[in-house]
């Protein structure tokens, strides 16, 4: 059996600048909300459709505003709920910035060619149209979004963004190192460097992490004999199973890009608490943490800070079985 991932058939249904588009899934790596991404903002003088560069899965992706490139009314900048489609363009990885992700269009539906005569310049004509949800929809060919002038602007913006991207890489690596060996000073220094570069959200996140470390200091000191490493939702599930079956006590800390942090507490193999930055309820926090696609974990053995009554269902085996269902059904 081949381990190569199958290329997906079908189309993404996107909305941008008041238009509905379909984008072949074959060239799409993933769809994200901008608040899940770390973005180096555009440099001064960059074209209006250039929204900066994001780092994802070890690669940098220039962010391109789809509506602006299409000549449709575009909202300026990127909001937290802006949809970013990480896809291929000229064999480069790019992020197409859209207003909304509306769904998946299955492959096999009929489509029709669009005559280049309909467009102001045949060079930038859209190739095909299809019907979906009873409305005409345009097939998007990312390469044809660009005029020759815009292609030159794209190349120039790529060159200009190099310094910003390199700095973002460096700081991201520092952050990953800090996730393995967290220190208050380290996070404060990192916050200062983010601030200096104008990445205020990142700076605030680092300061919050430093503050959190200060309060958690007694639990965090026990690093000897602790486990750490990269984590995704499947690895996390395995970790939970191992910690449960081996009757461990301690805290499992999780840290993922985009400000996702959390902790799961174990007492003699039983999960007794879960916390995440944006969920009050322990069970909800646990489910959120089990959706992490990429991050780091650290397990600190010892008595967890949660010493009262368990905030999670008492039957950890059943709870893990439920989480397994969630993980298996996740894409």
């Amino acid at each position: 059996m081949s381990d190569r991932p199958k290329s997906l058939a079908g189309f993404l249904w996107l909305r941008s600048g008041g238009h509905d588009f379909s984008l072949p899934l074959a060239g799409v790596r993933r769809v994200a909300l901008s608040n899940q991404l770390r973005v180096a903002p555009p440099e001064r003088g960059a074209p209006s459709w250039w929204c900066g560069v994001t780092l994802d899965d070890g690669r940098s992706h220039p962010l391109l505003n789809l509506a602006d490139l299409m000549g449709a009314p575009a909202s300026r900048g990127i909001g937290p709920d802006t949809v970013v489609v990480l896809a291929s363009l000229w064999q480069l990885s790019v992020g197409l910035v859209c207003d909304r992700f509306r769904g998946i269009i299955p492959a096999g539906d009929p489509s029709w060619p669009l005559s280049p005569a309909l467009f102001s310049t045949s060079e930038r004509a859209l190739p095909r149209m299809r019907l979906w949800a009873g409305r005409p929809m345009l097939d998007l060919a990312p390469e044809q979004l660009f005029s020759a002038q815009q292609r030159a602007q794209f190349d120039q913006a790529m060159k200009n963004s190099k310094v910003n991207v390199d700095q973002l890489w460096e700081l991201s690596e520092l952050e990953q190192q800090l996730a393995v060996e967290p220190t208050v000073t380290g996070y404060n220094d990192l916050a200062a460097r983010y601030k200096k570069l104008g990445w205020l959200e990142e700076a605030e996140r680092m300061q919050a992490r430093a503050a959190q470390l200060k309060t958690e200091a007694p639990a965090m000191r026990v690093t000897a004999g602790g486990l750490s490493g990269p984590v995704n939702h499947r690895v996390l599930l395995e970790l939970l199973q191992v910690l449960h079956l081996t009757g461990k006590s301690g805290e499992l800390l999780l840290d993922a890009p985009g400000g996702i942090t959390g902790a799961i507490s174990f007492r003699v193999g039983a999960m007794v608490d879960a916390k995440s930055a944006d969920a009050e309820d322990a069970l909800k926090a646990l489910r959120q943490l089990c959706a992490i696609k990429a991050g780091r974990y650290q397990f600190f053995p010892g008595v967890p800070s949660q010493t009262g009554e368990s905030r999670l269902p008492a039957d950890t085996t059943t709870l893990i079985a439920e989480l397994e269902k969630q993980v298996i059904s996740a894409p």
């Binding site: 600048g17 005569a117 299809r130």
Partner: protein, 150 residues
């Protein structure tokens, strides 16, 4: 002389001649004559979805008979810009599926091309007609269809 004698064969057109039956549609104060054989029907236009980067005379796309068709405004093309519309005239080669919709203020009327009518020198698929009581244009549908196929 820039005009072409109506009695002579028209080298750049097919179908235009005095007496031939055409569908006459109106956009504001301007009339457009469409060859009868290329008119597949007249339909209400409920929803036209705009097409980004389109030429000014391409209003958008509308669904007819289970497929999207481009919707064209001949008034914009002839330089007599108009807004609003009520119906679309389906264009298609004889015995073939429709390839476009042309918007009109109303359903139009079938009339004969006046005996004195003649075309001005043709520059594309829309040609001004001389000899009609109102400002009128002749739509060379075969040429339009050919351009859409390219």
């Amino acid at each position: 002389m820039s005009t072409i004698d109506a009695a002579q064969p028209q080298p750049l057109t097919t179908g235009f001649r005095p007496g031939v039956v055409v569908l006459r549609i109106r956009r504001g104060n301007v009339y457009f004559l469409l060859p009868r054989l290329w008119v597949r029907g007249v339909v209400p236009l409920h929803e036209v979805v705009p097409l980004p980067r389109a030429k000014p005379w391409v209003v958008g796309l509308a669904v007819h008979d289970g497929r999207p068709l481009p919707v064209l405004d001949l008034a914009v093309c002839s330089g007599t810009a108009e807004g609003g519309h009520s119906v679309g005239v389906l264009l298609g080669a004889p015995d073939q599926a429709s390839f476009a919709l042309v918007i009109s203020d109303g359903p139009g009327r079938f009339v004969s091309v006046p005996a004195v009518a003649r075309l001005e020198k043709s520059t594309g698929w829309l040609t001004r007609i001389q000899g009609c009581a109102q400002t009128s244009w002749w739509l060379e549908t075969a040429r339009l269809a050919a351009e859409f196929k390219e």
